[in-house]
């Protein structure tokens, strides 16, 4: 027989307000002064060499104030080099371990350092709060549960898969609610009381007793259980996938219309051929010949032209993310364009300038059909090429680099000379003028036809910048010769055969 708890509406209302008040107060607490300012300071001063939970150049800083006392930290942060000299044993030991002196921060006051430490200690709770804040539709109880999970359980449990303890997603289906309450509060007591399941769990997980959590209230545990039941809500990824499919549908409906038109014309032609009237037959034949000639000519003109060429590159590199979203200058990577005939494909050391610290993409990043999981592997390909050990943050010793075999997209035939520096540095043309909106392309493709006519059209239409005093005399002679004020590239000799073909 079921026991049904009857709540009066007033009771429910008070409960609800209590929960809301509680959540409000915790979120207020999380945003309060210290840690927030600490986060700012951390990002501005420390984050270049330290992460919270992973070794970078220096050690991870999460919970550092528990490892060292505060005075020690003050003198270390303000001037570690002098502190080491003063003969502190701990300071010396750290220097020996990392071998790099830490930048001194005399400009940070004790208060600033306190703020930073508040942030480094407080991180798990804060991250949970901000993460939950982003997903608006999540039940507040689940939100609270996630926060508590990260603060208390995540050291030994994941939601899915075993860590030290078992994965917790869906645990509410495996065990009774009352049992879980008792277990979380004090699992040792539960086991001693002779509970069979408790003993079994203990045996299954390597006989490691779980830390008791008597400080969690019943409401806290309920929130945790709610979170275990629901798990993390995945959001953004689904949305973009939806958009993609609708776009495809639109495209295919357009193609469908084209096919209808073609079929109608075909039907008409066949009808004309089959009719007994000779005139119609002749018209149809002429029409067919013209269409055939058009396509043949078009095809012949396309020989050696690779407009639209879009090879599959060895790494799913997205120009959109790098040049578009992150606004990295084209020449940051293609640095030889300013001095050389070729605009070079960057060597992997240029990739590593950023990807030393960026080893994975943001959660909602997508390139075509690839999501985060695949894209992280794409970054891994750079590490394989150069031999970077991202766990220990250093290059592997005696590693033979494996060059990345990028496939060249833009390639002029060997009988035409083209020089990037002449166009990029001297003329100051934007890369996009020839290469198209690269900053919007996930996958690089050839935007322009790169035919001679295309070159000459631009040379005829573009005026030379006449500001250069060194060439003033020549510019004057040219403008007199052609009787114009502005000289185009073609008038300067940009139409002469020998300029490009020799």
């Amino acid at each position: 027989m079921k026991i049904v708890n009857q709540h009066s509406p007033i009771q429910q209302l008070t409960k609800l307000t209590f929960v809301l008040l509680f959540i409000f107060s915790t979120s207020l607490f999380a945003q309060q002064g210290d840690a927030a300012n600490g986060k700012k300071l951390f990002k501005a001063n420390c984050a270049a060499c330290h992460k919270l939970d992973k070794k970078v150049l220096g050690p991870p800083l999460k919970g550092v104030s528990e490892k060292r006392d505060r005075k020690w930290l003050y003198s270390w942060i303000k001037n570690s080099a002098e502190f080491i000299k003063s003969g502190d044993a701990d300071a010396k030991a750290i220097f020996e371990e990392f071998k790099i002196p830490m930048t001194p921060f005399p400009q940070l006051s004790n208060k600033d350092i306190d703020d930073i430490l508040a942030y480094t200690d407080d991180k798990p709770a804060k991250k949970a709060a901000s993460g939950a804040g982003a997903s608006t539709k999540v039940d507040p109880k689940v939100k609270l549960g996630k926060k508590l999970f990260k603060a208390n359980c995540a050291a030994c449990h994941k939601m899915e898969g075993k860590l030290v303890g078992p994965g917790l997603k869906g645990v509410t289906e495996r065990r009774e609610k009352e049992w879980l309450h008792a277990w979380i509060k004090d699992n040792n007591a539960l086991r001693k009381s002779g509970d069979a399941i408790a003993k079994q769990v203990f045996e299954e997980n390597g006989k490691m007793p779980m830390t008791p959590f008597p400080q969690l209230s019943d409401d806290d545990i309920d929130a945790l259980l709610a979170y275990f039941k629901v798990g993390d809500v995945k959001k953004v990824v689904k949305n973009t996938a939806g958009v993609n499919t609708t776009k495809k549908e639109k495209k295919s409906s357009g193609a469908w219309m084209n096919w209808v038109v073609i079929l109608v014309i075909l039907g008409l032609l066949i009808w004309m051929f089959l009719s007994k009237v000779t005139f119609l037959k002749i018209i149809a034949t002429v029409f067919l010949l013209l269409v055939g000639a058009y396509f043949t000519f078009d095809w012949l003109m396309g020989i050696g032209v690779d407009q639209g060429y879009q090879p599959i590159q060895p790494i799913a590199f997205s120009h959109k993310i790098h040049a578009g979203d992150n606004k990295i200058d084209c020449q940051y990577c293609h640095s030889s364009a300013k001095h050389s005939k070729t605009s070079g494909v960057p060597t992997a050391n240029v990739c590593m300038n950023c990807h030393k610290s960026i080893s994975e993409v943001a959660d909602d990043t997508r390139v075509g059909a690839l999501g985060k999981e695949q894209l992280d592997k794409e970054i891994q390909k750079i590490y394989n090429a150069v031999g970077w050990d991202s766990d220990n943050m250093k290059y592997k010793e005696n590693y033979k680099p494996i060059p990345i075999k990028w496939i060249r997209v833009h390639n002029l035939p060997d009988f035409a000379y083209y020089n990037h520096s002449q166009h990029v540095t001297v003329a100051g043309i934007k890369c996009q003028k020839c290469h198209g909106p690269v900053e919007k392309m996930d996958e690089m493709k050839q935007h322009s036809p790169l035919t001679m006519r295309w070159c000459l059209d631009c040379h005829k239409a573009t005026d030379v910048n006449l500001d250069n005093k060194y060439y003033a005399k020549i510019h004057k002679q040219l403008s007199e010769k052609y009787g114009v004020e502005k000289v185009t590239i073609a008038q300067l000799g940009g139409k002469e055969c020998g300029k490009c073909h020799y």
């Binding site: 270049a48 032209v305 990295i328 070079g344 060997d414």
Partner: protein, 183 residues
Amino acid sequence: MKSLIKIIFSLFVIVVFFSCSDKAQRNIQYMPDMYRPVPYEAYSTNPNFANGLSSQQPVAGTVARGSAPYDYPNTEEGYQAAKANLVSPLDSTQVDYKKGKKLFNMYCAICHGKKGDGNGVLSQRDKFVGIPNYASREITEGSIYHVIMYGRNMMGSHASQLQPAERWQVVHYVEKLRNDLKK
């Protein structure tokens, strides 16, 4: 009826002929001998070298045209020595802030910010965090050059992207930014 079959067949052939274009393949070429270079191209594979690349690193002990030997080693001592002793070879007439600005915005501003305050686009977007403000660091001509040359901490070397003369222009522009920030 025979002619109908003929027509449909020829149309079919034409459609098939034009429909097989693969954008991951290059188009056919007329006289490919003239399209494809005989010598090795800058980024092509090259069986004549042990590592199979056409683009090789400078031979040890040689100085390429436009570059200059740099004697400070890539160590902490080297950094301190460069910071104390290395001075710019440019005199005041050779310093070109316009050029320095252009290069700085191209290679440095993405992290360090256009004003040198450590607030570049990558920093704003949380991709690369912890970038210092120039004003808060004790840096000199020599140390700036040394860091561009070898990198420091999480910053990588930018020597492959900037030639020595360009590095010095950037150094002077960084010093200008730093002085502006300190005002």
